[in-house]
Amino acid sequence: MSAAALPGAPVAAVARSARTRTSAIRRDGALVSRLLIGAALAFLAIFLFVPLAFVFVQALAKGAGAYLRAIGDADALAAIRLTLVAAAIAIPLNVAFGIAAAWAIARFAFRGKSVLITLIDLPFSVSPVIAGLVYVLVFGMQGWLGPWLAAHDIKVIFAVPGIVLATIFVTVPFVARELIPLLQAQGVEQEEAATMLGARAWQTFVRVTLPNIKWGLLYGVVLCSARAMGEFGAVSVVSGHIRGATNTLPLHVEIAYNEYQFAAAFACASLLALIALATLALKLVLERRSPDRHPERIE
């Protein structure tokens, strides 16, 4: 996921420096850069574009009617609904947590700060399957809280709450990681100036801090949404794959594929691909809006 956020700057820098050389070197450089660019494009075509195109080709292989039927299928609609519900719960929670954590890390010195930064990054380093299993161990029938939950008739694992929890877990880093460098770069002076002018804490946040981080925040929300809707591993472990009840869109794709309903599987997969493409488009727009962001930097 983090690789997707890498800027295209190095390629541009190489091209720029190649242009400034003398003509003899430039000819060699041009050949090398053409080879490199060609190799990169061929790689992208084989590993990214062709599969993506294949998804859409397969999805429409049996015609538009079959495509619409596959998406309009009751189980598919339930999966879409559950995916949206999980994302709709996970994203606001992530925004709230992300802003609070980024604020604490960027503004205050406190014991355990580096532990908090590490914890925020944990979902990036831990396999999503492990995350799902952890929830099963805590909330499952044989888990710590299992008997208590069963006694109170609360279902977490193999039910919607578990899916929401797994989705929250895998999306934790996105907003916080986006905001920490922004808040650090912004510094405290503007907020102090607002305080000296009589602003209360929430006024300072709404009128001074938020406007300065809003593009970074939106960017984090976009990445967070994409991950929330696309997550497979963690959700798969806690879902139980109950059709029409606990299947999200990625799980639905897998089930359809395993049952040899290729057109249906690819039709739903194409929806996920469209979400990804929309995410990329939004990401580009947001990057233009906030040119001086450093998405990969955490100090």
Partner: protein, 271 residues
């Protein structure tokens, strides 16, 4: 409004930034806190503002103990070294900020805010820039807008942190004279922090010389220059007093190598 500091202490880890400072500032005065970097002068200013809490000691504003008063309630204007203008707001909205965040009952209506902002922009001689954004202004203009913004809430005290530090020499000179005239006009008690002896001597009613968290001397520019209380003050002001004040501005700077050597010897003796 008068300011009184009693035995102010502030440590950052092992470093003592302010070490037992007592200071009285009278209503309407323009006071310079002068010292080399690391002398604790900015920390002292931030303690007066309430942006930093002193470890020990009392801050009195108008005789009242304000040590525990929140910065937003002290009614103190603060001009930051880098101005800290809000980049997403126009100049007009920057200046109006302090009025807009007031509780509804005390908030002036839109027309009153517009009048107040216009008069402040006129005061800082920037009537025409209200619709612009801070990044479209020069450094000197930003400085004056920061001042107008601080004055909008009618502070009883104005604090300025290195007010001319980020400006080039010519603009600094212009603004210096302008700030002095402005202070004479509005007569708000003002304290500014500087490491520039010329600035302090040219501008202030009184100078507070700080070194290593302590006050070395307090006095009028003439008094501090004529009779430095400590070797540090003599050394810190000395180079300036000889080479720049006594020599008329337009003539070449008079360098006295023999005295420079003596000062250096004195300085190393103190260290």
């Amino acid at each position: 409004m008068s300011i009184a500091l009693e035995q102010i202490q502030k440590r950052f880890g092992a470093v003592s930034a302010v070490d037992g400072v007592d200071l009285q500032i009278r209503t309407g005065e323009l006071v310079a806190v002068l010292g080399p970097s690391g002398s604790g002068k900015t920390t002292l200013l931030r303690i007066i503002a309430g942006l930093e809490a002193a470890d020990a000691g009392i801050v009195r504003l108008d005789g009242d103990d304000a040590t525990a008063t929140h910065a937003r309630d002290r009614n103190v204007g603060f001009v930051f070294q880098q101005y800290a203008l809000f980049p997403h707001l126009t100049v007009f909205e920057n200046v109006a900020f302090g009025l807009r965040v007031r509780p509804r009952r005390e908030r002036p209506d839109a027309a009153a805010i517009a009048r107040r902002v216009a008069s402040l922009l006129a005061l800082v001689q920037l009537e025409d820039v209200g619709a612009r954004f801070p990044h479209a202004l020069s450094g000197g203009q930003r400085q004056r807008i920061a001042l107008a913004r601080a004055l909008a809430v009618e502070p009883r005290v104005l604090l300025l942190d290195e007010p001319f530090g980020a400006l080039d020499a010519r603009v600094r000179h212009e603004l210096r004279g302008w700030l002095r005239r402005l202070h004479d006009e509005i007569a708000v008690t003002s304290v500014f922090v500087t490491h520039d002896q010329a600035e302090a001597l040219a501008l202030a009613d009184r100078i507070v010389v700080m070194h290593r968290g302590r006050i070395e001397q307090v006095g009028t520019p003439d008094a501090v220059r004529a009779s430095p209380a400590t070797p540090f003050v003599r050394d810190f002001l000395g180079g300036f007093a000889e080479s720049r004040v006594h020599a008329p501005c337009r003539t070449p700077v008079v360098d006295r190598p023999h005295e420079r050597g003596r000062r250096r010897a004195l300085a190393s003796a103190i260290e």
